[in-house]
C-alpha cells in the first residue's frame, strides 16, 4: 500500500491514514470504494481486480479480528465472505456486482467496529477522496 502519491493537480499528497491504526484496512476499503469497478464503463478486468482486492482486504480484516473480541464484527466478516463468494461463484448472476458491493459494506462495518473498540474516530472515505482523486463521495453518515 503506497503511502504517498501525486494528485491530478500535481500536488504531492500523503495517504490520510498514514501512521494511524488499521491503515491498510482503511486504505484497502477506500481503494475499492472509489474503484473503477463501480463505474458505468468498468471492464471485466476492473471487476476481476476488485475481486482480488476484496479477497485481500477480507483476509487482512480476519487477521485484525483474531486478537479482538467483537462478536458482531466476526459475524459481519462472515457475511462479507459469503457475499464475495456469491459474487465470484456466479450464483449472484447479473447481481454479482451488487454482492461485491455488499461485501464492501460489511467490510466497512467491521472496520468501523475495530476503530470503535480502540476509541478512534469513525472511518470516513471522504478523508481518502482527495488523495485518491476520487470524483465524488457517494454517501455520508449523518447520525
Amino acid at each position: 500500500m503506497r503511502e504517498s502519491g501525486t494528485a491530478s493537480s500535481g500536488k504531492k499528497v500523503e495517504c490520510p491514514y498514514k501512521g494511524g491504526a488499521f491503515m491498510g484496512l482503511r486504505a484497502g476499503h477506500d481503494l475499492l470504494y472509489f474503484g473503477r469497478w463501480r463505474r458505468m464503463d468498468a471492464t471485466a478486468i476492473d471487476v476481476r481486480k476488485a475481486h482480488h482486492q476484496m479477497k485481500r482486504l477480507l483476509g487482512e480484516i480476519a487477521i485484525s479480528l483474531e486478537t479482538e473480541d467483537i462478536p458482531p464484527a466476526r459475524k459481519d466478516l462472515e457475511k462479507a465472505l459469503e457475499a464475495l463468494y456469491t459474487a465470484e461463484s456466479g450464483e449472484g448472476g447479473p447481481d454479482a456486482l451488487r454482492y461485491l458491493d455488499h461485501a464492501l459494506s460489511y467490510a466497512h462495518r467491521v472496520i468501523g467496529d475495530l476503530l470503535h473498540e480502540k476509541g478512534l474516530p469513525p472511518h470516513s472515505p471522504a478523508d481518502f477522496a482527495g488523495w485518491y482523486d476520487a470524483g465524488e463521495v457517494p454517501f455520508r453518515e449523518d447520525w
Binding site: P71, P72, K75, R109, H116, P121, E141, D142, W143
Partner: protein, 189 residues
Amino acid sequence: MIPLDRYPKEITLRDDTHAVLRPMIPGDADGVWRFLRQLPEIDKAHFREDVDQREVVDRWAKSLDYDAALPILAMQGDGVVGSATLYRNRTGWKQRVGIVRILIAPDFRHKGLGTAMIREIRYLGEKAALNYLLAEVIEEQQAAVRALERMGFEKAFVHRKFVNDRTGRLHNLVVLLHPMSGLEEDTFF
C-alpha cells in the same frame, strides 16, 4: 448477566471530540433528567411515563436492574449527551429479543454518536446471547432509520398511523430487526 468490564469506554466522534460510554448508575438521575428535558417531544413519545417529571427519573435511577434494562450513557464531562438502552425479558417467548432505544442530544447529532451507540448495543446483544435486536422508530426520524439500517438492522414492517405523540397526532412506526449470532446456533426443535 452481561459483562460490563469494558466500561467506562472512551470513544471519538466524527468531529474528533470525545465521549465516555458507561452504564447508568443511581447518581445519574440529575444528569439523565436534564438530558431528557432537552430532547424534542417526538423523541420522548415512546416513554410510558412523563420523563419531564423529576420524580419519574429519580425512581428509575433508584431501581436500576441491568438484566431488565441496561442503559448505556454517553457522557461529555458531567453532561449526558446520549443514551442507548437494551431491554430484555428474563422469561417468556421474547426472552431472546432485545429491544433497543437510542436517544441523542440535539447538539450531538450528525457526529456519529448514534452509530457508535448502535455498535455498543450490537456488542451487548451478542454478549447477552440474544437472537434479535428490535428497534422501533417513528418514520419521520429518517436519520435514525438510516443509521440502524447501515448497522445491519432491516425493516421488518411499518405500522401505519400506529403510535401517537403527546399532542395526539398519529405517526407511522417502523420496526427494524437485527438478527444476531445466537439465531443460527439455536435449535429448539
